[in-house]
Symmetry: C2
Subunit: 345 residues, 2 copies
């Protein structure tokens, strides 16, 4: 740590010189996706299977191994050029994880028994390749940093807004990890200390107000209270499938309750962006996730406006709030960077 | 940036091998303090003068130069040993500053005309020594990291609670700066988006609820509204000198309004600590500043309790919330580290 250790030069230097290809795995709550990922950001031999969360941890681990074996088989059956060698496996996993030991700790969406699973060791054992594993949002930030919206940025914050809200922080070209690998959980920034309970046990966090599940919960409440007949009809029609997209659709149809709920979520996100700018002084806030993607400028506009009006002058002048660029491939592309950084240092 | 770039080995390695002594300057809103600081953390030839903020920027810069010249004269008049050479000047300044150019941008407490003052260049010109300048909270974190409560810690957060609330973040042994040097402004974490206005233009920030000036403002309001006769008497007796210590004293005397105000401040601080733990996964939160120091365990206890009950499990198990150790000398001691890191890389 030095006063002027802001090293010039390329960020993530190890990726371009990666001496082979990577087996990439994106483990999600609903899907397991795998592919061969090349150092130039090309994905080949994709596969996707349903995540068998309800069948227990062994089934999930087995499905991951089979997906990777399938991908490796197709890769090996195909004549290749310079990228002919597989040098490692990169895994994007729901958090919390221990990235130093390759352990998935206790993610809420892989089933109740999925606790402290040494996924990296299982996969290394089955496939015989070195495995690097990290939290999905950390891997996504790596992907956006090398191949996406944050190419060339040394200081940026990645926020994903979908069912939950997650994040990652890159400062001076390095991903913040913390001693347990837990840094970056921006969904747990406080927004309103008298606000709704958060799934983590806290109160009034960003995720408890602006996430897809929070919006759905507020929509159901507005339906149940009689505040909105349209939301009540949507809840009845959709059943357990009712979610934030339906609240957003009700807003588009002119429903005042839906509009209040969506405004509340956008305002919470915008307010959090002010804190992010003041605390991190980033060049970019890269916003991903299905909810933010669906909302587009409607979601990003209020955030930009809040930052330019209310964050510190120099930091506000610097930052740009931009959409992520890699969509659903962000985890598979980030896996290249993850493996490259483990391999090269 | 790599997945396992958490370098083992000593943090701040350049300080112990510093080839001489440092002229340290702590520019504050009320006092300018200066001393010779040795690499072992010894301070010699101290001086302190009132900050002539109301006389304009030139007077403040002149007072800084004279204080440093006085200290250098005493140092040179004294026979010395191995630390005989002055190798540079380290300056702790109120923020915001541009640490890369050594410019003090527009601190609220050095007078209205103190804007974009190239203090490092002025002092280098007058004293002929290389100058390193940074925000007071960044310098304080360096001091605590080498000589104080965070010795040996690679990941810690420093928060100071006095008239205002400031902070600094050390991640994997490096101080977070951001491209404009503005990172670490933890006083502008959001606590309550429907809360009181913050001096920065924002709303409901930690500083707007838990700082000394926020507590004083709430105390005056409780006096004016008739809620507390004791606070009304204290406001009348103290006039412009009324501040957070009087609200704290009224709480000690059993005043319910004062107790509500102090509880509110402690709760805001504790809630912010949860977010700090979730977002940074630090080993330590080091809490400094006169208000936190005066409150002692009363301030830290609720923060520890909130973190252990409500932050993420692994991160909560890791972190300790501790008082700063260096008191009023933190800026002068941090200046050694600031100069050492600029000199050594």
């Amino acid at each position: 740590m030095t006063a002027d250790d802001r090293t010039p030069g390329p960020v993530w230097p190890t990726v371009a010189s990666l001496p082979g290809a990577v087996l990439a795995l994106d483990l999600g709550g609903t899907q397991i996706r795998a592919a061969v990922a090349l150092a130039d950001g090309t994905l080949r031999h994709r596969t996707a299977v349903r995540t068998p969360s309800s069948d227990g941890p062994d089934a999930v681990v087995g499905a991951c191994i089979r997906a990777l074996e399938d991908v490796r088989r197709s890769f090996e059956a195909t004549p290749t050029g310079a990228n002919g060698r597989l040098i490692g496996i990169g895994i994007s996993s729901p958090g919390p994880v221990d990235p130093f030991r390759g352990v998935v700790v206790d993610p809420p969406n892989l089933g109740p028994d999925f606790r402290d699973v040494p996924l990296a060791a299982h996969i290394d054992g089955a496939l015989g390749l070195p495995v690097a594993l990290d939290r999905d949002t950390q891997v996504a930030a790596m992907g956006e940093g090398v191949f996406g919206a944050a190419r060339g940025a040394r200081d940026f914050v990645y926020v994903t807004v979908s069912t939950g809200i997650g994040g990652a922080i890159v400062a001076d070209g390095r991903l913040l990890r913390g001693p347990d690998g837990g840094a970056g959980e921006l969904g747990h920034l406080l927004v309103d200390r008298s606000g709704p309970a958060c799934g983590c046990g806290g109160v009034g966090h960003l995720e408890a107000i602006a996430s897809g599940s929070a919006i759905a919960r507020a929509g159901r409440a507005a339906a149940a209270s009689g505040e909105s007949a349209l939301l009540a009809r949507l809840v009845a029609a959709e059943g357990p499938g009712f979610g934030a997209p339906h609240v957003a659709a009700a807003e588009d149809a002119g429903d005042p309750a839906a509009s209040r709920i969506m405004d509340d979520a956008r305002d919470a996100f915008a307010s959090s962006c002010i804190a992010i700018v003041d605390v991190f002084n980033p060049e970019l806030i890269v916003v991903g996730g299905s909810l933010a993607r669906g909302q587009g400028e409607r979601w990003l506009g209020p955030a930009r406006d809040a930052v330019s009006r209310r964050a510190f002058r120099l930091a506000a002048r610097r930052v740009r709030v931009v959409p992520s660029q890699l969509g659903d491939d962000v985890g598979l592309l980030g896996a290249i960077v993850l493996v490259g950084s483990r391999a090269g240092g």
